[in-house]
Symmetry: C2
Subunit: 192 residues, 2 copies
DNA sequence: GGTTGACGTGTCAATATCCACATGTTGGAA
DNA sequence: TTCCAACATGTGGATATTGACACGTCAACC
């Protein structure tokens, strides 16, 4: 019924399983965590998709609130579909990440530019990692049966990613400026 | 002239700056490293895009070989455009990564499924990290002025990413099974 | 009482991308 | 010498996604 690799409906399904939400709330979610790290989508994709999913019985409207808002929840069929998708073996793993693309293309810059770029990355990733570390410290550990706190898995994932990027950027800088560092080290050695 | 956030042309530009290539070679590149980690594209996007870029003067055909193959190289304008794009401040950072999306949605699985999924991730990421480590060990360190070896930056990036994912998955497993581990630990303590 | 800003959902045209199909070449193995 | 696989580029229709535009609601502030 649903193509094996349609990501947006599954992203919505996942969020609705954790907690029923309105299209508007889902849009907000995509503007922050998920949208910045995993899968971007605007409200113009989300609303039509919700309608389609409702037609297909993956979600249902459980509540209609003020300003014409509709709260959606995942149906049993929706839960089953998400599970199927998560464990689908021959998934296609489409990747499209501008940030990572830029890292791949650093080689195309001349060394000075490359180092400048890497310094920017190092700084930014350290900031982001610290930000998430603070967030994680503020909320306690994950408790079983608390689906809200479960979302911290993603935050910790992000924190570790940023730390890895930070380490890499610093390493890359020493690689590229290696020769220069070598020289200054030996001159220091001579001086002492 | 070019929109600030068109990624495919910039990806092609970056590859052609490192080394002139044919559309076919570019397609191959997208099937392996770049395509799997940064930006996916098939030959049906690549060939038309190359033609468009040639019209716009970002690349030029430097050689026509057998079977109608054309080798493209970046022009001076192309180099400038890539540099502009790399350092563009208000870039849009579109993200679309099914793998990461799945990690965000682990919270939507029930604990047993989540742990099973995480075990799969842990295993897979360890394998990938080892694979890249082997590759990196086989080739020497980055040498200044050798644009080919420069590409190792990306490999090291990948290795560190996979290691981070591995560490995270193991941590996540202990978080979710935490209570169970706690219980079995205390029951062991009682038994002894 | 009016204005502003967040809430909340939607359409439509333009663009980007994917999939299936199409076509011819070259080298090597059976 | 025939066949197959990799080489090499392309078109066209279907689908997905983005950006501009549109519309109405509600609460708070001035």
């Amino acid at each position: 019924m649903y193509d094996a690799d349609m990501s947006l409906p599954h992203a919505l399904l996942g969020l609705l399983i954790v907690r029923p939400r309105s299209g508007y709330e889902l849009t907000k979610e995509f503007e922050s965590h998920i949208g910045r790290h995993a899968w971007a989508a605007g409200h113009t994709s989300i609303y039509p998709e919700l309608n389609r999913m409702a037609e297909n019985g993956l979600v249902e409207v459980t509540h209609e609130g003020a300003r014409g808002s509709r709260t959606y929840a995942a149906t049993e069929a929706g839960r089953a579909e998400l599970r199927r998708w998560m464990f689908d073996r021959d998934r296609s793993r489409k990747v499209r990440n501008e940030e990572v693309l830029r890292m791949f293309l650093i080689s195309a810059l001349d060394p000075d530019d490359a180092v400048a770029y890497l310094r920017g990355i190092a700084e930014e990733s350290a900031e982001k990692a610290a930000e998430l570390a603070k967030l994680l410290a503020a909320t306690g550990p994950i408790v079983q049966g608390d689906p809200e706190k479960f979302g911290l898995l993603a935050a910790e994932y992000g924190r570790r990613q940023y730390e890895a990027v930070h380490g890499w950027a610093e390493w890359a800088i020493t690689q590229i400026t290696g020769q220069a560092a070598e020289e200054s080290r030996s001159s220091r050695a001579t001086a002492s």
